[in-house]
């Protein structure tokens, strides 16, 4: 009875301890999906197994170090072999491992079963932002880091979600199985949200899949987990989970917005309008490599300010932005930006930082180019 009490007290203090550790942000989050809870469970089980083995092994070790000090007159014994003991300490870990492997296998199988998903989202890694495509809904957008440069450089106070905030989060409905198809347009990235226990590499040329079913509405933050170059630290993942109705409303709004953003392809745009819009696009898409001042970081990212080759050859400039450059970090933006944004950013680049070409690229021209 007393043993039971001691055991119960021990258990209580242990769970209390792990809860405290979690609350303080010292432990893995339990997360908001069934899978993430399973993973957390596995993590804690294997952790406590390690702790128990550690206490026993280090206990014996420190006891020996203390008890058999020569300064206390210890005389060395002469044994150096004991088959029974050796078999015993080989067999016990083996059994523990087998016991551990069984639940781990079950959870892994669960994680791999992406069948019967109700929503498919294509996730594409770019240097250094994520792009989301709601398949079947024709909604696509980039998700860029939203932390101001001043906070990173230390000239402004850092916000609560420093480096973990984006301009447009991935919005998902709760309670529905969502399949995430991962790929990349350049190097290998890895899409990770700890609260969902989803981490999957985005490999260029290949498609990986993962899935999640979020239980609670909320905002869940993660980061790119695979070194992908200079701004690897600056491409967070933010998932906003909302109730089905709210999600449907969001979806409808998104579609309207997309239509509005793409509208005006046919009309004639003024230089100032395009430059104004282009500056925004440039800031969120291009500035991470070519820098806000257009100076780039040669030799990897060429300067745009004062780039004579670019200013002289309008067609080439358009081609590079629209179709990208093979084997370089310059991606093709024809599939990810609408014609208005493309025209705007090209016009901006030709008229900013002293690049006074006065060229105006009309969205209609780009539209004609992409869809002849």
């Amino acid at each position: 009875m007393r043993k039971m009490l001691v055991l119960a007290a021990l258990m209580a203090s242990v769970t209390g301890l792990s809860r405290a550790a979690r609350a303080a942000g010292w432990n893995m989050p339990v997360g908001v999906t069934e899978v993430s809870r399973d993973v957390y469970g596995l993590h804690m089980v294997i952790f406590w197994i390690c702790v128990i083995i550690g206490v026993i092994v280090f206990g014996i070790m420190f006891y020996s170090l203390f008890r058999y000090r020569r300064s206390k007159g210890a005389q060395a014994a002469h044994f150096h072999e004991h088959t029974t003991v050796e078999v015993f300490w080989t067999a016990i870990p083996l059994l523990i491992l087998v016991a551990m492997a069984i639940p781990a296998t079950a959870t892994l199988k669960d994680m791999y079963d992406a069948s019967e998903a109700e929503l498919d989202v294509m996730v594409t890694g770019h240097q250094w932002r994520w792009h989301y495509h709601y398949m079947g809904e024709d909604i696509t957008f980039f998700s860029n880091l939203d932390t101001p440069r001043e906070q990173i450089d230390g000239t402004a106070e850092k916000g609560e979600n420093y480096l973990l905030e984006v301009d447009q989060p991935l919005v998902l409905p709760v309670g529905r199985k969502v399949r995430l198809l991962m790929t990349s347009s350049d190097v290998i990235h890895s899409w990770w949200v700890p609260d969902l226990a989803v981490k999957k590499d985005a490999v260029p040329g290949f498609v990986n899949e993962a899935w999640t079913r979020i239980d609670e509405p909320g905002i869940y933050r993660g980061q790119c987990a695979e070194l992908c170059g200079k701004d690897h630290a600056f491409m967070p993942v933010v998932v906003q989970a909302m109730e089905q109705e709210a999600f449907d409303t969001w979806l409808a709004e998104r579609k309207q917005e997309a239509a509005a953003a793409a509208s005006g392809v046919d009309r004639e745009w003024k230089l100032e309008e395009l430059v104004e819009r282009g500056e925004k696009v440039y800031g969120s898409i291009c500035a991470s490599c070519h820098q806000a001042d257009g100076q780039g970081t040669p030799p990897t990212f060429p300067a745009l300010a004062g780039n004579q080759a670019m200013m002289d050859d309008l067609d080439w400039h358009i081609d590079v932005v629209v179709n990208g450059v093979s084997g370089s970090a310059m991606a093709a933006f024809s599939g990810t930006l609408n014609p208005v944004d493309l025209a705007a950013v090209i016009t901006y680049e030709r008229n900013a930082w002293g690049n006074e070409t006065g060229d105006v690229v009309q969205p209609a021209e780009i539209q004609a180019l992409i869809d002849p």
């Binding site: 942000g25 010292w26 432990n27 899978v35 993973v39 596995l42 294997i46 390690c50 550690g54 014996i60 070790m61 020996s64 170090l65 020569r70 210890a74 060395a76 014994a77 002469h78 150096h80 072999e81 004991h82 050796e86 080989t90 870990p93 083996l94 491992l97 492997a101 781990a104 892994l108 994680m111 791999y112 990173i152 230390g154 850092k158 420093y162 480096l163 290998i188 890895s190 226990a197 989803v198 981490k199 999957k200 590499d201 490999v203 260029p204 040329g205 990986n208 993660g222 980061q223 987990a225 695979e226 070194l227 170059g229 200079k230 690897h232 630290a233 970081t297 030799p299 093979s326 084997g327």
Partner: protein, 546 residues
């Protein structure tokens, strides 16, 4: 205890040494100055060169780590830009793995393998000289890439394609050449060690009479022969992809970036054991000495080492659980990885049982060896956690992994090297290392290393990815603690340098058998060991091994 000296000189022993070492050693016997060190074929001098080289690389790589820790002291970008930060993490990893830890073990092998098996020198002395001198050239080239346009390698020490091919800086070709040279050096070193151990053992010494340091090195050498060609192959493919338009790792040309990771880790996982098996050997030699008791389960230790070596070829994809392997592959690699914990556990149990009912003293080498056992085991525990594939999705590529492998490599491999240096310094210099400074070095290192790496576990679990120059605010406390620990650990290594310099210059005279409980063959030689030892092999019939 002592072998029956002088020996009854079986002639075939000295004849078996290629090209009779006595003959060509004479030619440089009278040489002095730098040329002597450039052309030396003596295993002790080459061993010393390796160790000095390794120490300087350890310090250079350490400075790079301090740059990283300095930047990570606080959130925000203060000291360096991300481009340079990535070069620092990459170079730190490459230099520590290929420039510090591996050459240190080769240096120890050069010094101690012939002394522990009663051989006059390494089997291939001239090759030995060549394989050493490749290293300074390789690492000068590697360091020089930092000054090239576009900077040095910035894609992590694992250099995953296509970041290291299509998107790499122009200096990558030089990085590949440098790595090729370091690889050739390792292969030649391994061939030499195998030839020495298999052929130059003194008469009467059977394989199962060898010390565990020699045993673990023999197995390590075979691992090197097996996997270094794979590394050479994979970097050659990178070279072709970058400069000759092939597409091994480029999806655009029909290649596969994941192939790179399979090849790299097929080399990389055995490489991990290359860096830890000799450490097992060192600890298995030091612990019995200061416990004054025979090593428990010698045969088990040898078998466990061989077992780990074999299993190390079957676990590579546990580094790639998140890459999108099919379920069956994930399960296979999860099971094999869990299996490898068993022989590793056996080793730890054996060391502890050796301590049990011993007669223990705590000289500096013993302190480092004991810290090794505890801290390496902690690294082993986190390794076991990482083996659980579903949980690995959360740990993978976070600071939890950084904590894991640093626990295995710093208080693991590096502490074992320090233990070995303290242990054998009396034999090398004839003086005991200063015990007081040694203890300061030990305690500051232990405190520093734990303060440095333990908080990384928490940072990783809380969600901090590795290889980032800037991080979210909830990781700030962990990183500040780590950085303080990093500086403490880093600067306490100056004490190590001081102890060594002091010991070379003088100190308490050491007798032939410098440690009371030591029983291996090297302790039958005078301290310091003369330049030429065992020129006529000792007769070991009747010698009491381990």
């Amino acid at each position: 205890m002592a072998p029956n000296l002088p020996p009854k000189a079986p002639l075939e022993h000295s004849q078996s040494v290629a090209g009779s070492p006595a003959a060509h050693e004479e030619e440089h016997h009278y040489r002095s100055g730098p040329l002597r060190w450039l052309l030396t074929t003596n295993h002790k001098e080459i061993g010393t060169l390796y160790l000095i080289f390794s120490l300087s690389m350890f310090l250079i790589g350490g400075v790079m780590a301090l740059v990283v820790r300095l930047e990570l002291f606080q959130p925000g970008l203060q000291m360096v830009q991300p481009e340079f930060f990535n070069q620092m993490t990459t170079m730190h990893g490459l230099i520590m793995v290929f420039g510090a830890v591996m050459p240190a073990f080769v240096g120890l092998a050069n010094w101690m393998v012939p002394l522990q098996i009663g051989a006059p020198d390494m089997a291939l002395p001239r090759l030995n000289n060549f394989s050493f001198w490749l290293l300074p050239i390789a690492f000068t080239l590697l360091l020089a890439t930092l000054l090239m346009p576009g900077g040095g390698p910035n894609f992590g020490w694992t250099f995953y394609a296509p970041l290291s091919t299509t998107y790499a800086p122009p200096s990558t070709t030089f990085f590949i050449f440098a790595l090729h040279m370091a690889g050739i050096s390792s292969i030649l070193g391994a061939i030499n060690i195998i030839a020495t151990i298999l052929n130059l053992r003194a008469p009467g010494m059977r394989l199962m009479d060898m010390t565990l340091f020699v045993w673990t090195w023999l197995i390590t050498a075979f691992l090197l022969i097996a996997v270094m060609p794979v590394l050479a192959g994979v970097i050659t493919m990178m070279l072709l992809d970058i400069n000759f338009g092939t597409s091994f790792f480029n999806a655009a040309g029909g290649g596969d970036p994941v192939l790179f990771q399979h090849l790299f880790w097929f080399f990389g996982h055995p490489e991990v054991y290359i860096m830890i098996l000799p450490a097992f050997g060192i600890v298995s030699v030091i612990v019995p000495t200061f416990a004054r008791k025979r090593l428990f389960g010698y045969a088990s230790m040898v078998y466990a080492t061989a077992s780990i070596a074999i299993l190390s070829f079957l676990v590579w994809a546990h580094h790639m659980f998140a890459v999108g392997l099919p379920l069956v592959a994930e399960l296979f690699f999860m099971y094999t990885t869990m299996l490898i914990a068993v022989p590793t556990g056996v080793k730890v149990f054996n060391w502890i049982t050796t301590l049990f009912r011993g007669s223990i003293t705590f000289e500096t080498p013993m302190l480092f060896a004991l810290a090794f056992i505890v801290l390496f085991t902690i690294g082993g525990f986190s390794g076991l956690m990482l083996a659980i594939a579903p949980a690995d999705f959360q740990y993978h590529d976070t600071y939890f992994v950084v904590a894991h492998f640093h626990y295995v490599l710093v208080p693991g491999a590096v502490f074992s090297i320090m233990a070995a240096v303290y242990y054998w310094l009396p034999k090398w210099t004839g003086h005991y290392p200063d015990e007081r400074i040694g203890r300061w070095h030990f305690w500051l290192s232990v405190i520093g290393v734990n303060l440095l790496f333990f908080p990384m576990h928490f940072a990783g679990l809380a969600g901090m990815p590795r290889r980032i120059p800037d991080y979210a605010l909830q990781f700030a406390d962990f990183n500040m603690a780590s950085s303080i620990g990093g500086f403490l650990f880093g600067f306490s290594q100056l004490l190590f340098v001081w102890v060594i310099v002091k010991c070379v210059r003088g100190g308490a005279k050491a007798p032939a058998k410098a440690w009371e409980g030591a029983s291996d063959l090297e302790w039958t030689l005078p301290s310091p060991a003369p330049l030429h030892t065992f020129e006529t092999p000792p007769d070991l019939r009747g010698f009491k091994f381990h």
